[in-house]
Symmetry: C2
Subunit: 339 residues, 2 copies
């Protein structure tokens, strides 16, 4: 294995070391070195609800890269591909908890849900005001009539950013939960995997695919999706994916769709820009206006090749918050050039 | 080949289509669709020297991704891995030329130099005020006594950004060239390649390397470097590379070094952050203060795995310009947290 690490034992801590040394927006937690905390001052700490998430590492820049003003107050960093323990998440909650309350975001995967819910219970026992918001958006992981069984996928970034901006502006805990549920209800994601990443734990490819096939709907750890399709022109694949997204949750002619084209790690920006071109064209054919895109490799699975398309039909407030400035090391500036 | 394109003929134009549709900072050239031009207004167009570069595509986000305020005024986009023709570069120069003059940056590779120099001659014949600045920084491509034979490598980003910020502030053409030469003289880069990218032209890996070896000093198209080393702890490899960089151009104890850790495309952010940790540690051991890092995959060769380390020993003005705000789709915000 040619991964550039010092040792399996140190890989996560070395990464965090490099990260907090590089960026003034973040520091390590005082209670637990596996918690990455926002370092810059909050304007009105008594009023600001704090947002955090725990997740397995190996998917960077998410979520460590999104700690900062207008985004996350903390990220609890688990081992590679492993949900952090309830105790570790509790350390994260303690680190940032304030009088306005804590919102724990959870990308829906079983380990994350179990440990996240347990951490919330433990925090409540300590008298902290905490709520949890499960996030799910992957249309291939369960049908619409079992919406609550869906997995978290890159469309969760809509929730991170919109709630992060709203919390920064002083929105209270109940309103944030309601806004997060509304964003979740308007978000859909579908992924297409082309080739596997190499697990840094085993040194082995995480799945196998024939040379001429792409797997539709695979999850970020290689979880099963809809099935295989033959490699062909990017436009045909994207048309099929956009059709599936809009069949799951229609968007009316004349409406806007905010778009995330996320690369899984090993897919070039050339390709992602091509996918955005085709996504925008597929939406335009249906009278839908593609706005405020986020294009790049933000939710990765090592050097896995592939991408996902996420759509959010935003209301005016959601779009404003999606485009609000933020200050983290890796979340890009989003602009609505139709505005 | 599993690249996500429509066809070999359309891949570059489709990419540019997606790019200009996504980002309000850029538009296509009026004279030539292969020129990407800054779309937002310049404060004082009569006074601002314009900066541009031509380069082969397939290395994105460089250089298309860096068009915008405080950076490049235009990028002339060649075919994949091929320098744009002199005529195409001339179109780019015409597109942005103004009374304060044009500075054509050229990353030193033979095709780029020949076509760039020819374009400058053609532009001068049309009465335009143009100068060219060759950029080179790769210490493995030629010894120090043949400095002018070195290749351009990711350390050229120091030149882009510092000159881009200086031009935005109104620096004149002669002063920009002198500043660019000074930055170039203080910049060194060394790369380590781990595994090849797949050429979108041939569908084949661009070179071969045994499973347990890393190639030191390979160029961005797979050009030969210093030689092979065995894979081992990242810290050992980085120490060796930093020692080579400082042997080539020493930095005194007590001085600062701005650092770029660039990923070649297929290397994870986990690894790049680990490389930054080790680079900073290697500098610290020598009493040198690592500042204002840029970490990520900015100069890529498709999904090639590997990274480079670039060091710039900045004076106060260079560091200020390196950290000045800019507004392009893909150049990150750089901060000097020691300031």
């Amino acid at each position: 294995m040619k991964k550039l690490f010092n040792s399996a034992e140190r890989m996560v801590d070395d990464m965090i070391d490099g990260y907090v040394a590089a960026y003034p927006q973040v520091r390590r937690g005082a209670q637990d070195a596996r918690v990455v905390v926002r370092a810059r001052q909050v304007k009105d700490p008594a009023r600001k609800v704090v947002l955090l998430i725990g997740n397995g590492s190996g998917h960077e820049p998410i979520a460590m890269g999104f700690v900062g003003a207008g985004l996350l107050d903390a990220n609890v960093v688990g081992d590679v591909f492993a949900a952090p323990s309830a105790d570790l998440i509790l350390d994260g909650i303690r680190e940032v908890a304030g009088p306005a309350g804590v919102l724990l975001l959870i990308s829906q995967h079983s380990g994350d849900m179990i440990n996240g819910r347990a951490a919330v219970m433990l925090a409540e026992e300590e008298g902290l005001k905490v709520r949890a918001l499960p996030m799910y958006d992957d249309i291939s992981s369960a049908p619409r009539d079992r919406l609550h069984d869906r997995r978290g996928a890159p469309g969760t970034m809509f929730v991170y950013k919109i709630l992060g901006a709203a919390a920064e502006q002083g929105m209270d805990l109940d309103a944030l939960v309601a806004l997060g549920e509304a964003v979740r209800a308007r978000t859909t994601t579908l992924a297409a995997a082309a080739s596997p990443g190499i697990s840094p734990l085993t040194g082995k490819p995480m799945f196998c695919l024939p040379d001429d096939e792409i797997y539709l709907g695979m999850g970020v750890h290689g979880e099963p999706g809809i099935g295989r399709v033959k490699v062909g022109p990017a436009g045909d694949l994207v048309e099929r994916m956009v059709a599936a997204l809009l069949a799951d949750r229609p968007i009316a002619r004349g409406a806007k769709a905010a778009v995330i084209v996320n690369g899984m790690g090993g897919t070039t920006l050339m390709e992602l820009l091509t996918v955005y071109r085709e996504t925008r064209a597929a939406l335009t054919r249906r009278g839908i206006d593609a706005v405020a895109p986020m294009i790049g490799s933000y939710v990765t699975t090592q050097e896995m090749a592939g991408f996902s398309i996420s759509l959010l039909e935003p209301d005016k407030r959601m779009l404003d918050l999606w485009c609000a400035p933020s200050d983290s090391p890796f979340f890009p500036r989003i602009e609505d050039h139709t505005a």
